[in-house]
């Protein structure tokens, strides 16, 4: 049933008894043209693009738990394309353009909300770095504005302009940035992909790869039996190294925990998304009214999906330093997601050294905003066996060649990216 206000009204008459399942909960077939490991946003988007853009519909998405149970359902829902380095800039803009049409493409309201993303600066050096980045965006046809303090005082009078340790000087604004309802993105892609015949298989954990005599991957072993495939793509943020290891691969990736926080629901207080340039804090307010905020990763390798107290304090200190009016607003929930941090802070989308296995990994904490773009370029790679032009720099061998894409300039130390 197509979703609309009319179908909703019709359904209401019958007490909503006639709604079908949002996606088909499929059982594994013997083989598929393409198997995607990972039923998160990236995996489901890849399946949808394979079916809708490349006409490959004999596709299965294997999810070890329930779809969206990984980082797709744990992030702080921010979308933006305000990157500064070649490779990132145009890829994230490709993704942003896909966000802008997602709901109509999928017939599912993911609440894509372009309320703006603002990065605050507190020193001349930061301003200059933002100017460089903003100009890169503009040269690539992406919207960006450099605001001074006066403009910010008008726009966000509640920021701490008066007695801040690091006074706010201005900010880099991308008005097209914003947020999207993370779970709805997962359900929307599942809904649409399933509608095109993609099998979404939950509670199906991959336990190994099936290889032929030449070492080519020809399928996967799973908790629900062996499944054959011509090509296997992995989109398993938080488990990339573990899955790659099943194929004997070591990746330039470390897994770290990133915490996220939500406050009690309050009436509208904070307009868009803002990031504090002098501390570890960024925040937006959800449609439900909760302040959704976060900061830095906990800083050490971890697969435990929970955070530590010092980081909670660090993040709230940033919040109070920037927005002293939130002191009495209460933190409602804290949780942690596992970030696969690459060695330069930039993702890897490439064929793996193992024939038949394709990698989509190393998103650090940039994964959510990349969901539609990642789906498209990964589908392109799987369908055509060559990189999409906007993902050509996300090659695995870039570290051997010295062609890192290091926005933060921190080098091969993932916990600093």
């Amino acid at each position: 049933m197509k979703y609309s206000i009319f179908s909703l009204a019709r359904a209401a008459l019958s007490g909503h008894k006639n709604w079908q399942s949002t996606w088909r909960d499929a059982a594994p077939k013997d083989r598929y043209d393409v198997i995607i490991i990972g039923g998160g946003g990236h995996g489901l988007a890849t399946a949808w693009f394979l079916a809708s853009e490349f006409g490959i519909r004999n596709v299965a998405v294997l999810e070890k738990g329930w779809i969206g149970s990984g980082n797709a359902g744990r992030n702080t829902t921010i979308i933006r394309s305000n990157y500064g380095l070649p490779g990132n800039t145009r890829f994230y803009e490709l993704s942003m353009k896909l966000w802008e049409r997602m709901e109509q493409d999928l017939n599912y309201n993911a609440m894509v909300s372009q309320r703006g993303v603002l990065n605050l600066y507190h020193s001349d050096a930061q301003r200059d770095a933002f100017a460089r980045r903003g100009n890169t965006m503009r040269i690539n046809g992406i919207d960006a504005e450099l605001l001074d303090q006066a403009a910010l005082r008008k726009m966000l009078p509640f920021l701490n302009f008066e007695n801040a340790r690091f006074p706010i000087q201005g900010g880099l604004l991308q008005r097209r940035g914003g947020t999207a309802r993370h779970d709805a993105v997962v359900w929307g892609y599942a809904h649409a992909a399933s509608g095109l015949g993609v099998d979404i298989i939950q509670n199906c954990e991959v336990t190994g790869f099936v290889r032929d005599a030449n070492g080519k991957v020809t399928g996967v072993e799973t908790s629900r039996g062996k499944i054959g495939a011509s090509k296997v793509g992995m989109a398993v943020a938080g488990s990339s190294s573990r899955v790659a290891a099943m194929a004997g691969l070591r990746l330039p990736i470390e897994s770290h925990v990133l915490q996220a926080f939500v406050s009690e629901a309050i009436k509208p207080l904070i307009p868009g998304v803002m990031t504090f340039g002098a501390g570890h804090f960024y925040v937006s307010q959800s449609d439900k009214g909760g302040l959704v905020f976060g900061g830095d990763i906990d800083g050490y390798n971890s697969y435990a999906q929970r955070g530590n107290l010092p980081v909670v304090e660090d993040v709230c200190e940033g919040g109070m330093a920037l927005i002293p009016m939130i002191g009495r607003v209460r933190l409602l929930r804290q949780w942690g997601g596992i970030m696969d941090m690459s060695m330069d802070g930039t993702p890897i989308i490439d064929k793996s050294p193992v024939d038949g296995l394709y990698i989509n990994a190393g998103w650090c904490y940039g994964g959510f905003k990349a969901t539609p773009g990642s789906g498209l370029v990964f589908a392109h790679l799987l369908a055509r066996d060559e990189s999409h032009k906007e993902a050509a720099r996300f090659r695995l061998d870039r570290f051997q060649r010295g062609a890192m894409i290091d926005e933060k300039g921190q080098g091969a130390q993932p916990n600093l990216h």
Binding site: R242, R250, L251, I253, Y300, A304, P310, Q413
Partner: protein, 91 residues
């Protein structure tokens, strides 16, 4: 998390800085690009017990080798690195 520094005793996480996996050994001076690439970039990224380098910068400034489970954060052993307490070598 609390780390028992072999020199200072049990201390709060905030006193320590993390570097990463302590297993990769720095290749010899004459090692080639591949060996150094492997050392600098490739990680086992262990889900389980891992040996790590931590720096007690907020305390005695010793670099430590910490054995920690990345699934539970449980710390099973902490020892000084070779150069921490080097005045006692040979003694």
């Amino acid at each position: 998390m609390r780390i028992i520094c072999p020199f200072c005793g049990e201390r709060e996480l905030g006193e320590f800085t993390y570097l990463g996996d302590a297993k990769p050994q720095r290749p010899a001076a004459d090692a080639g690009e591949d060996a150094v690439y492997d050392y600098v970039y490739l990680r086992d990224n262990i889900a389980g017990v891992m040996s790590e380098h931590w720096y007690h910068g907020g305390g005695c400034r010793a670099w430590l080798k910490v054995t920690r489970n990345t699934l539970t954060h449980e710390i099973s052993a902490v020892e000084p690195t070779a150069g921490a307490g080097a005045a006692k070598v040979g003694a």
